[in-house]
């Protein structure tokens, strides 16, 4: 109850324009790790190779289906994005015999569920340097929950959200999860943090439903109670990837690429994988660094080296403040780049920043600028607080809550047992988050690297969808 006061505090925005920009935007490259990169590669093992040839090529050449009507029904058959069959991915094998569970009768007592409320926890870094990348997702989560509560989506019950800070610290994350489950007695958790590993085993052992953003952490593609908002990423990201990033950079006009990341695991392994992707696309990685510290915005030495390397393309895996600082310092030093690709940071407020022209952003849903505007975005816009920005981080929050609410519905709003949530939600074959992206089969994509994602570029001070607003796909890539 106390925490409901947080909405008001979130509304009062204190950031200056620019800062603000950075701020919430600051999405994360860290995180980026997740959508972009993890989204990577199907086909890891030799066994899968056979299956994939056709699909992979299909995936590689095709983009997502023309998404004119993006509500739920993009039939998997027509969507080129369709992923290989469950058998392809070892992680998904655990769901081979999964069958729908009906609500028990009489309904047992369910932790966190009372006659009129369902208590849901949220773990998100609200403090510390990495908060830039995650904190404002809470606004999106609350907006989606407000919608559900207002429209009575869950029958007689409403959702009560308890958000706790994990400060992006694995040990804290573990404590916080315990607090939510044992102290607050929540039904399930919405988690948007790069340190979700901290509590993963605990939440899995207790079979607590978790929905959220995987931020490149592989356990989202390994443990059955974790539901990534779109795709969980590869169960073995170090082994499986995709050529997508390399191809995107190539199409944007890069030949020699500098890659910059650092800080946490997601970011460092992101850079490692993308280097392979870039090389696979026939480009050259001329400079790579994974040493950037959280909060660092002074890049003299890195700019110096990028200049010396003769790079004409840049890919980063750092947060938005750092991206913008780096771009500015590069331009101050007279470095001209054909292609600048940020895996996150898609936010209208970045448009005001000097030197952002020509930069491209990856995102895991259709661009907001898609025409006609998908109904999902109209809803999002309606329910977001008026003074809240509509950006990638907020929408990631919204999508995480969307997935969680979907889970409760699948479990049956009358008697949503945790078991039924985890079991039935996984059985969805054409999940689109109400039309925010192309349909996903939650079982066959489980633990699978995924080849497709969406891109926008800043042109004349506006975001313009790349590749006609369709998903850009890459070929599977096995990393030795």
């Amino acid at each position: 109850m106390e925490r409901s006061g947080r909405v008001s505090y979130l509304k009062k925005h204190r950031w200056s324009t620019t800062g603000a920009v950075l701020l919430s935007v600051a999405l994360l490259a860290t995180a980026c790790g997740d959508d972009d990169d993890d989204v990577a590669t199907p086909v890891t093992d030799a066994t899968s190779a056979a299956v994939t040839t056709t699909e992979a090529t299909a995936a590689a050449t095709t983009t997502a289906p023309p998404t004119t009507d993006t509500t739920t029904g993009g039939e998997p058959a027509t969507t080129a994005v369709t992923v290989p069959t469950p058998a392809t991915f070892p992680a998904a094998a655990q769901f081979a015999d999964l069958e729908r569970i009906d609500a028990p009768s009489p309904c047992p007592e369910i932790p966190g569920v009372s006659d009129d409320t369902i208590k849901v926890g949220m773990i998100v870094p609200q403090s510390g340097l990495r908060a830039t990348s995650f904190a404002t997702s809470e606004i999106g989560v609350r907006a989606r929950i407000d919608k559900a509560n207002d429209e009575g989506e869950l029958g007689a019950r409403t959702i009560e959200l308890v958000a706790i800070d994990d400060a992006s610290d694995a040990a804290r994350n573990s404590e916080v999860a315990r607090t939510l489950v044992e102290g607050e007695n929540v039904y399930g958790i919405i988690e948007i943090s790069d340190q979700s590993d901290g509590s993963a085993d605990y939440l899995n052992e207790n079979q607590i439903p978790v929905a959220g953003w995987h931020v490149g952490r592989p356990h989202w593609g390994q443990q059955n109670n974790f539901f990534a908002l779109r795709l969980p990423g590869a169960a073995e990201p170090e082994a499986n990837h995709t050529t997508r990033t390399g191809e995107v950079l190539k199409e944007l006009g890069a030949t020699k690429v500098a890659t910059v990341g650092g800080g946490n695991q997601s970011s460092a392994s992101f850079v490692g994988r993308e280097n392979k992707s870039i090389e696979a696309a026939g480009l050259e990685v001329v400079y790579t660094s994974t040493e950037i510290q959280p909060g660092q915005t002074e890049f003299t030495a890195i700019v110096d080296r990028i200049k010396d390397s003769g790079a004409d393309g840049l890919l980063t895996g750092v947060d938005f403040l750092q991206n913008t600082a780096l771009v500015k310092q590069l331009s101050d030093a007279g470095v001209e780049l054909n292609a600048v690709l940020f895996p996150g940071g898609y936010d209208p407020r970045v448009l005001a920043i000097e030197g952002i022209e020509g930069a491209s952003f990856g995102l895991e849903f259709y661009p907001f600028e898609a025409t006609p505007t998908p109904p999902a975005f109209i809803e999002f816009d309606t329910w977001m607080p008026e003074d809240g920005t509509r950006n990638q981080v907020n929408y990631i929050g919204w999508l995480s809550a969307e997935m969680f609410i979907q889970g409760i519905k699948e479990a049956g709003v009358e008697c949503p047992t945790r078991e039924a949530f985890i079991n039935n939600l996984r059985l969805i074959e054409d999940y689109t988050a109400n039309g925010a992206f192309d349909p996903i089969d939650l079982i066959s994509t489980f633990g699978a690297p995924f080849p497709c994602t969406y891109y926008v570029r800043v042109e004349e001070g506006k975001f313009v969808p790349l590749f006609d607003g369709k998903a850009k796909c890459g070929e599977p890539l096995t990393i030795e």
Binding site: R14, L22, D169, A171, R178, Q195, G295, E298, I302
Partner: protein, 720 residues
């Protein structure tokens, strides 16, 4: 080349502005202000609050904060705290400003930041920084230019003021000899207050200039703090010129380390391949303390005398308590009650609270290490947290054989013990060179050790694992499986009791008695032929063992060893504040410190009304302890407000009170910081204070009953 030179000059500029203030205040009052960087941070976020939250013109806000508020704030701090410290013992002088260091940023965040981090970079100049000048093809942006300009202005005007003005003459006279200056008719108080005002102004200027460059998080100010401390040591705490030279040295080194010439051509060849990147990227942050240690060792040979001279300080911390021990069963009453509470806690508190108390017990063992090193040894150590962190990291490596495969893999419990033993030589290594140099240098050296351990060891890939840490399994010993929380909880209780017995025995041992004698008078003790250094080394060794043991237990309990986050050097500063707040002379103090470190943040987060309860208690405490009627009435009024607040809680409205909602996360830290500051008044901590009062009261009552006034004069001592 030029970009690095300019980058280095900018860093050196900010450092110098702050360092000059730090040295000036130290020389004029003999109080080393550990909170100097905290003041810079406080004033910077105050500036941000005015300029961004309240829409002031940034230039006006900057001028107002630096030229008006900062001097007044300095005057206030001098009046409220620093002037009292001048005559206090050196330990209290250190610990009180360390308390301010802990409390001030937390108070600042409550007042000016709230619950959202500040991520913008608004500064006095244009935002974002404009590219104003080009030197040799390198852009100097507006923020950097301002730093360079202000640092030159400050350096020049300080020189003029100190050399050519009457005030300067007075300051120099006071620095050379306060007594002589006083005899010659100089009001040293005025001089001291003046220099504190100037010092705070310089801190404010550094803060307001630094924030747009680095950001408004406290973390971004840490490099400034460390550089200042190192520069102050290089300046031997008195030479302004050497201070500036030190800053230039630090700034330039930091700037050039990542360059091709230093890193590619030198460091990459010298350092081992593994985790090279991490080490090198953390090297700039480590530079100040590497230089500090080098200079410390050099200076030691040059003139040891200078360090020891501190004529103003009284040598002891008050008369030794003249109390007799409690007799009979009473001796065991308090410990028995505490143990009973701890033993029974898991029954009603199964699950999460049990886990939190367990963590408190583990940390409590680390706080026991302060009982030895600070309580008995009278030394201010800021690196117990580093010992705990090393203990934790080594435990993880021994128990899992994770990345250091050459280590033998051993059972979890044995791993903790072995890890603690491994840490002992480190403890001795830190203490050995600095023990003779005096308390301030010991504090600096231990802080240096903690920071370097943090940067160069905890951050290395095999320990930190990119912030993921190393997972540690719970042990299985003697047929007992400690995987469950409750068995491990009781294991912790047993181990805490064992550690407490160890500590009490050390106190009673010859070494303990020697330490007590040293605390009373170092010179007298040495005259008796007792080796002061040897005894202090033993104390350091035992305390490092305890801290490391606690670290191992803590990571085993949490299940993840992530010392870079859990045992950060600055957390060690908070530890010290908590430990001294409760009292470093007793086992009960350590237990309460551990429990409150783990419990308070959780309690405040969970039960907002606890803030009101605490507030009520504090007001009641003031009412019954302060003699002045006005203060009593104010406390009474606030106490009434407390009930009004309680009424609000009853209605569930408390979270609507913005200050309360914003401050929950900061309150525990604030309290501990303030507690440490409060030591200026009661040096023995809360446990002593409370126990002393209750026993004194009892003795008084007993005396009244027996009608003989004679038996009441002797105050009793608290804990054994």
């Amino acid at each position: 080349m030029w970009p690095y030179v300019i980058g280095g000059l900018v860093l050196a500029g900010v450092y110098s502005i702050a360092t000059l203030g730090l040295i000036l205040t130290y020389t004029s009052s003999r109080v080393f202000n550990f909170a100097h960087g905290a003041i810079a941070f406080f004033l910077a976020i105050f500036f941000h609050w005015l300029a961004v939250d309240h829409g002031w013109n940034p230039k006006l806000a900057g001028a107002f904060v630096v030229l008006v508020c900062a001097p007044l704030f300095g005057l206030f701090l001098w009046w409220a705290l620093f002037r009292r410290l001048t005559e206090a013992t050196s330990t209290i002088r250190l610990v009180s400003t360390i308390g301010l260091w802990v409390a001030l940023p937390a108070i600042g965040r409550i007042l000016f930041v709230g619950r959202e981090e500040i991520f913008d970079r608004t500064g006095v100049g244009p935002t974002p920084a404009a590219s104003w000048i080009r030197v040799a093809g390198t852009v100097i942006d507006s923020d950097e230019f301002l730093v360079l300009l202000v640092s030159v202005v400050v350096a020049v005007s300080m020189t003029i003021v100190l050399r050519y003005t009457p005030y300067g003459l007075q300051v120099r006279a006071t620095v050379d000899s306060p007594r002589m200056a006083g005899i010659s008719g100089i009001n040293t108080n005025v001089v001291s207050a003046g220099s504190w005002m100037i010092g705070t102004t310089l801190a404010g200027a550094a803060g307001v200039l630094l924030a747009p460059l680095k950001g408004y998080q406290e973390l971004n100010f840490t490099p400034l703090v460390l550089a200042m401390f190192a520069a102050a040591v290089i300046a031997r705490f008195h030479s302004l010129v050497m201070g500036v030279v030190g800053c230039l040295l630090i700034g330039m080194t930091q700037s050039f380390i990542p360059s091709k010439w230093v890193r590619d051509d030198f460091l990459y060849r010298v350092l081992p391949d593994q985790s090279q990147d991490v080490l090198i990227s953390k090297l700039p942050d480590s530079v100040p303390f590497i230089l500090l240690l080098i200079f410390l060792l050099c200076y030691r040979g040059v003139d040891r005398e200078r360090f020891a001279v501190d004529t103003r300080a009284a040598a002891t911390d008050g008369p030794p308590p003249t109390a007799r021990d409690l007799d009979g069963w009473r001796r065991f009453r308090t410990p028995a009650i505490l143990i009973l509470i701890v033993l029974l806690a898991p029954v009603p508190l199964a699950g999460r609270w049990e886990a939190i108390i367990a963590k408190g017990l583990a940390v409590g063992i680390a706080f026991l290490s302060y009982t030895i090193v600070a309580g008995e040894g009278g030394m201010v150590s800021l690196c117990q947290v580093a010992f705990a962190g090393i203990g934790g990291a080594m435990t993880a490596q021994l128990a899992t054989n994770d990345s250091w495969t050459w280590l033998p893999q051993v059972n979890g419990l044995l791993a903790i013990f072995l890890a603690a033993l491994i840490v002992v030589p480190f403890g001795l290594l830190v203490a050995l060179p600095s023990l003779r140099l005096g308390e301030l240098y010991l504090a600096m050296a231990t802080l240096a050790f903690a920071v370097l351990t943090q940067n160069l060891f905890f951050q290395s890939a095999s320990i930190n694992n990119f912030d993921g840490g190393v997972k540690v399994p719970r042990p299985h010993v003697f047929g007992v499986d400690f995987k469950g929380d409750t068995p491990f909880y009781y294991l912790l209780v047993v181990l805490f009791v064992l550690a407490a017995i160890l500590v009490m025995n050390v106190k009673r041992s010859t070494t303990g008695l020697n330490l007590a004698a040293t605390r009373s008078s170092e010179i007298a003790t040495a005259t008796l032929g007792i080796s002061v250094v040897r005894n202090r080394l033993i104390a350091f060794g035992v305390s490092s063992f305890l801290a490391a043991f606690a670290g191992g237990l803590s990571v085993t309990y949490v299940g993840i060893a992530l010392p870079a986050r859990e045992f950060d050097a600055l957390i060690g500063v908070v530890w010290l504040a908590i430990a001294v707040t409760w009292g470093v002379r007793s086992v009960a103090g350590a237990l309460l410190a551990g429990l409150s470190f783990a419990l308070f943040p959780q309690i405040f987060a969970e039960f907002e009304w606890f803030i009101l309860v605490l507030f009520g208690l504090i007001m009641l405490g003031i009412r019954s302890n302060v003699r002045r009627v006005v203060v009593q009435r104010i406390a009474l009024a606030l106490w009434a407000l407390f009930w009004l607040g309680a009424f609000l809680v009853w209605n569930g409205n408390l979270s609507e009170v913005p200050l309360i909602a914003d401050s929950i996360r900061e309150i525990p830290t604030t309290l501990f910081g303030l507690g440490a500051i409060g030591l200026a008044k009661e040096p023995r901590g809360i446990v002593y204070d409370v126990a002393h009062r209750s026993r004194a009261g009892r003795a008084e009552r007993a005396a009244r009953r027996s009608a003989g006034p004679s038996s009441a004069d002797e105050p009793e001592m608290v804990m054994p």
